[in-house]
């Protein structure tokens, strides 16, 4: 992380009419990492990516990709980026292979290098069998993989993935995740936007949570989760147990208020995680004469983070942000 960052945004502003898509966005993406931009529809994720990819001119602030300004040095930026958007950016009537070769040549590869890389990428993304079919016959998952292959053919140092798994079935999504991990291992810098909290948690080394065009939290997924209270242990009491006695016995371990649920037989205890904690809690309950059925460790999810930060739940929808 001592290197120069791959992407820097300072006070980026973009308005569409009266809508403030970006309202002073600041971002630093370290080189060689997977960075997640997390936020609901309309948060400004796609707008930010389009500014970084030289497709949109910002109204204010500035952004650099590998040290090149996205407005003043747009041509230089285009040499080092790849973009996979929410919509398949391919020619439906060409074969998969012809699409890759075309994009390769337009990415300034020689014809022979474009053919060689096209065949390598088709193989790696399990598309060799479909290579000679027109793209319009492809399934959703195959399209996304081919689209990603097209983004990679010019060997970009920085890759933008704008909601790469939106609308995919679980199998296709798992396959995309596997590919993203492989790319990260190859050293590509990836900026990934997603509205799926789980996806950011699974793939990204660092995450920026975006709401209404600004970053409202930034850190590793673990840091973000700890910031909203870390873990809870859910204690299921035996039928007829003394709830008051249980709460007294558990109080020394809790970092906050212990919350019983409606029937009083389940207690949610906020804790700081440590080895042997559950054993100690069982002993304490036993000493207090309280029977226990079950104990479950519940870690905060990024869903909790999102709710804590914004006061609303991350929406799942299909419209573009």
């Amino acid at each position: 992380m001592g290197e120069n960052p791959a992407i820097v945004a300072e006070g980026l502003i973009k308005n569409f009419g009266k809508t403030k898509a970006l309202a002073g966005l600041d971002l630093v993406v370290p080189a060689g990492t997977v960075y997640g931009l997390l936020g609901p529809n309309g948060a400004g994720k796609t707008t930010a990516v389009r500014v970084f990819a030289t497709l949109l001119r910002p109204d204010g602030g500035r952004a650099q990709v590998l040290g090149d300004d996205v407005v003043a040095d747009a041509a230089a930026v285009r040499r080092s980026i790849g973009l996979t958007g929410q919509y398949t950016a391919l020619d439906e009537y060409l074969t998969g292979r012809a699409n890759l070769i075309m994009i390769g040549q337009l990415s300034r590869l020689t014809a022979s290098a474009a053919r060689r890389r096209a065949d390598g990428l088709l193989e790696r993304f399990d598309l060799t069998q479909a290579a000679t079919r027109a793209v319009k016959t492809y399934s959703g998952g195959m399209r996304r993989r081919l689209d990603l292959a097209a983004s990679l053919i010019g060997h970009p140092a920085v890759l933008f993935l704008d909601e790469p798994t939106t609308g995919l079935d679980p199998n296709a999504r798992a396959m995309m995740w596997e590919i993203v991990r492989g790319l990260a291992a190859d050293g590509t810098t990836l900026l990934l936007t997603t509205q799926y909290l789980e996806e950011a948690d699974q793939l990204a080394g660092r995450v920026a949570v975006i709401d209404q065009g600004t970053v409202i939290a930034e850190g590793t997924p673990l840091e973000l989760k700890s910031s909203v209270g870390g873990e809870h242990i859910e204690v299921a009491l035996a039928a007829g147990a003394d709830v008051e006695a249980a709460m007294t016995a558990l109080k020394p371990y809790a970092t906050g208020t212990i919350q019983p649920n409606e029937d009083g037989l389940r207690l949610l205890v906020p804790v700081v995680s440590s080895d042997g904690l559950t054993t100690q809690m069982v002993r304490a309950l036993d000493a207090g004469g309280v029977g226990v059925n079950d104990m479950t460790v519940r870690r905060a999810s990024l869903d909790d983070v999102f709710f804590a930060l914004t006061g609303h739940i991350a929406e799942e929808g299909s419209a573009a942000a």
Partner: protein, 283 residues
């Protein structure tokens, strides 16, 4: 696993060292091939430039033609083909607009715009692919014309000049279509607007009937219509009946020059406008 990382040699596998013009030409070639490959996979996309002219020729030759009398006499079948060339070429313009709007809406344009390729290439390649379909359209019109009795009464140089003028005219109209494609947001709108613009453009001209029969207020419109100039130029160069020779309007007296002026003028207006809109699209 690392297909993605390591198999490119920066010097010999990349074209960055080439001259800007060579890069531009290569981009245009790659994208033109793309458009042609599409036609080969889906030949039915050519229906509007192949069957439509045939249907129009047959309708006008055998349905309406019998009722149309040329002011100075002569064969209507011979008169028809000069007008038909202009219509066959101009009517490809809405198709260009539809194709470009479709590319825009699929995200393919965004990809092109994020690549290190030349900015003009996308539009220039589209116009060149269109020129090839216009060649096909012209060949079909000529063949069907010969079949219904159209004949040329001049020499090869005049015929080549006429076809060259027609293709220049068609190429200029293509850029109007490109501009329309940049202006509009949905393929349906492009289709409809194309219809609304190109239908009157074709019919308020001497393409199918002599302008002498039109009401006095409409005659200047028809005589200055670029479609009339092309029709008159072709009829003149083919040695076919050309009633427009008796019309005093400047374009009818100098139809060849008028076609060149109209075409160059349209190219000078629409090509820069279209390219500027392409650069700014969605910005």
């Amino acid at each position: 696993m690392s297909v993605i990382a390591a198999d490119l040699a920066p010097g010999q596998d990349s074209t960055y060292g080439h001259s800007p013009f060579r890069l531009f030409a290569s981009d245009v070639l790659v994208l033109t091939k793309r458009s042609i490959a599409r036609i080969r996979r889906e030949p039915e996309t050519l229906a509007d430039v192949t069957f439509m002219p045939v249907i129009f020729i047959l309708m006008f030759a055998y349905v309406f033609g019998g009722a149309i009398r040329l002011p100075a006499g002569g064969s209507y079948h011979e008169y028809l083909i000069g007008g038909m060339l202009g219509m066959g070429l101009a009517q490809t313009a809405p198709g260009v607009a539809v194709a470009l709007v479709t590319d825009m809406s699929t995200g393919l344009m965004d990809r092109f715009r994020s690549l290190p390729m030349s900015r003009w290439a996308v539009l220039v390649a589209r116009s060149i692919a269109e020129l090839l379909t216009q060649l096909i359209s012209t060949a079909i019109i000529v063949c069907v014309g010969l079949a219904i009795g159209w004949r040329v009464h001049t020499n090869a140089a005049d015929v080549i000049a006429a076809l060259g003028l027609a293709l220049l005219f068609g190429y200029a109209f293509t850029w109007a279509g490109v501009w329309l494609g940049m202006l509009l947001r949905s393929p349906e709108a492009a289709q409809q607007l194309g219809f609304i613009v190109f239908l009157p453009l074709t019919f308020i001209s001497s393409a199918f009937v002599p302008t002498q029969g039109m009401p006095g207020w409409l005659q200047p419109v028809a005589n200055w219509n670029p479609m009339s100039a092309l029709a008159a130029a072709c009829r003149h160069l083919f040695g076919n009946p050309n009633p427009a020779a008796a019309v005093h309007a400047w374009p009818m007296q100098h139809p060849e020059l008028a076609v060149i002026c109209w075409s160059v003028g349209m190219l000078l207006v629409f090509a820069p406008l279209a390219v500027q809109m392409y650069r700014r699209k969605a910005l």
